[in-house]
Symmetry: C2
Subunit: 268 residues, 2 copies
Amino acid sequence: MSTDEKLECQCVSRRQVLIGSGVLAASTALMQFGGLLSSAQAKDGSSEKWPWPYVKLDPQKTAELAYQEWYRVFCGGAVISSVFSQLREKVGEPYKSFPVDSFICLEGGMVGWGTLCGSNAGANIASNVIIGPRIAGPECAHGHSIGSDIMQWYCDTPLPAFVPKEPKQPTKIIQTTSASPLCHISVGKWMAESGFALGSPERKDRCARVAASVAYQLVERLNAWKDGTYEPQSEWSPGKTHGIPGQPNCTECHGSDVPKPPMMTKKA
Amino acid sequence: MSTDEKLECQCVSRRQVLIGSGVLAASTALMQFGGLLSSAQAKDGSSEKWPWPYVKLDPQKTAELAYQEWYRVFCGGAVISSVFSQLREKVGEPYKSFPVDSFICLEGGMVGWGTLCGSNAGANIASNVIIGPRIAGPECAHGHSIGSDIMQWYCDTPLPAFVPKEPKQPTKIIQTTSASPLCHISVGKWMAESGFALGSPERKDRCARVAASVAYQLVERLNAWKDGTYEPQSEWSPGKTHGIPGQPNCTECHGSDVPKPPMMTKKA
C-alpha cells in the first residue's frame, strides 16, 4: 500500500477506521502525540510543579455545582469552577490563585464563535492544569487522555446525561447525541430535535446540564487517576495517522465527501 | 418579516450579513452576549481581581518568543507563554502562579482533535485572564472582544504573517488564508497549497510562525487597551442574531447548503 493510500481518509466511522488501520492503543499513541516530545522545563513558580495536589471529589456534588455555576460563568467556566472551587476549600493553593472566572471566555464555543463546546474545553483545561502538561513527565500524561476521553464520550452520548436535583426549568429536557465536540453542532441538534430555540430557558438549562454531565465525567476520571486505576478510554490517534490534525469523525461535517488530507508533494 | 425569516441563516459572507441585518456594532453587541449578564462575584484570591497588572510589551519580541516556545509547548501554550513569561519578569504575581505549560493541551485544536486552532484559544485565554471575565464589570469587557478580533483577523489574513529573525527552516513558508478559526482547516489549506505534509519540518515551522503572528496581534491590542485607545475591530454579533452559537462564516464548511438554524417550534 502506498503512503498516499495509507493516508487517504477512510472516515466511514471512527471504529471502522480504528479496526482497519491498526493504530496503537490510545494510552500508547497519546504519548507519541505530534512526534515532538521535549523534556519538561521546570519553572520557579509552585504552580508549574505537577501534578497539583488532588483530593477525590463527589461526582454528583460536582455536577450540581457545575449546573448552578453555568448560570454565572457558562459552560467552560462552570466545569472548571465546579472542580476548582472544591479544591480551593479542600487543598488551597495553587487552586486559589487560578483565575477561574476568566474561563467564561469558553462560552458558546469560544466567545460565541460556535467552535469547541466550552464544556469540553473546560474539562481539558482542568485535567491538564491538575495532572500537568504531557511534557512534564510520564506521570503527567493523563491530562491529555482524560480530555480526549471526555470529548469522545461527549460525541457518543445522549446529552444531557445529568438531571439536577432541583431543575431551574420544569420542562422535560430531551437528550440528543452530537457526534461532534463542537458547540453549534451539539446545540443545533438539540434545538432541532427539541423544538426549543437558542434563547429559550429550556436551551439554557440543557447547556447547564451538559456542563454538569461533563463535570461528572471529569471527576470520575480524576478520582480513578488519583487511585491509580485510570485507563484511557478514547480511541485517540495522532494526527500523523490521518495526515491532518483531527480524530476520524470526519463524516459528521463532511458527509460522504470527506476531503483527502493533502499529500506531501514537495518531499518524499 | 416573520421571526423565522429573520432567523434564517443568510451566510453568503460575513460582511453581506452584517450590511443586511443591521446588527449592532461589535463593541455594543459584545456587552449583550448571551443575554445573561450577571454581576461579578468577588472572590478572596488575588488572582480573581481584574484587570491583572499589565505593562506594555514589544510585539516583535513577543512574537519571537512565541516562535521559539512553539517548539516546546506548541501553539496555544506558545501564545500564552510569550506574553506571560515577560509579565512574570516585569510584574511578578499573579502571572508567576499561572500554570502556563498546562496549556500545551490546546495543541492540534485541543489535544489533537483539530477543532479551534490553539493559537486562537491561547489568545482568548490570555486576554481574558489579563483583562478579566466580562462579568467582572465594564472595565473587563475587552478580554472577549480582543479574543474575537484575533479570531476574525486569523480567518481573514494570509498566514503566517510573521517571519522570525532566525528561522529554524530555511525553506520559504507560503501564506494561506483559512477563512476559519479551526485547526484542521487552517493547517489543511496550507498543506494543500504548499505541498508540505503534516509531519514535515516546514509545516511545523508554519504553525510556529502562526502562533508568533497571533502573539504579535494580541500584544498590539493589549498595549492599545493599556493606553485606553483600544477599539473592538471584529464584526462580532451575539448568537441570538443568527439563531445558533457562531459567527456568520458558515459557508466555509457548509458551502451553499447552509442549514437553517432550528426554529422555535414549541413556544412562540
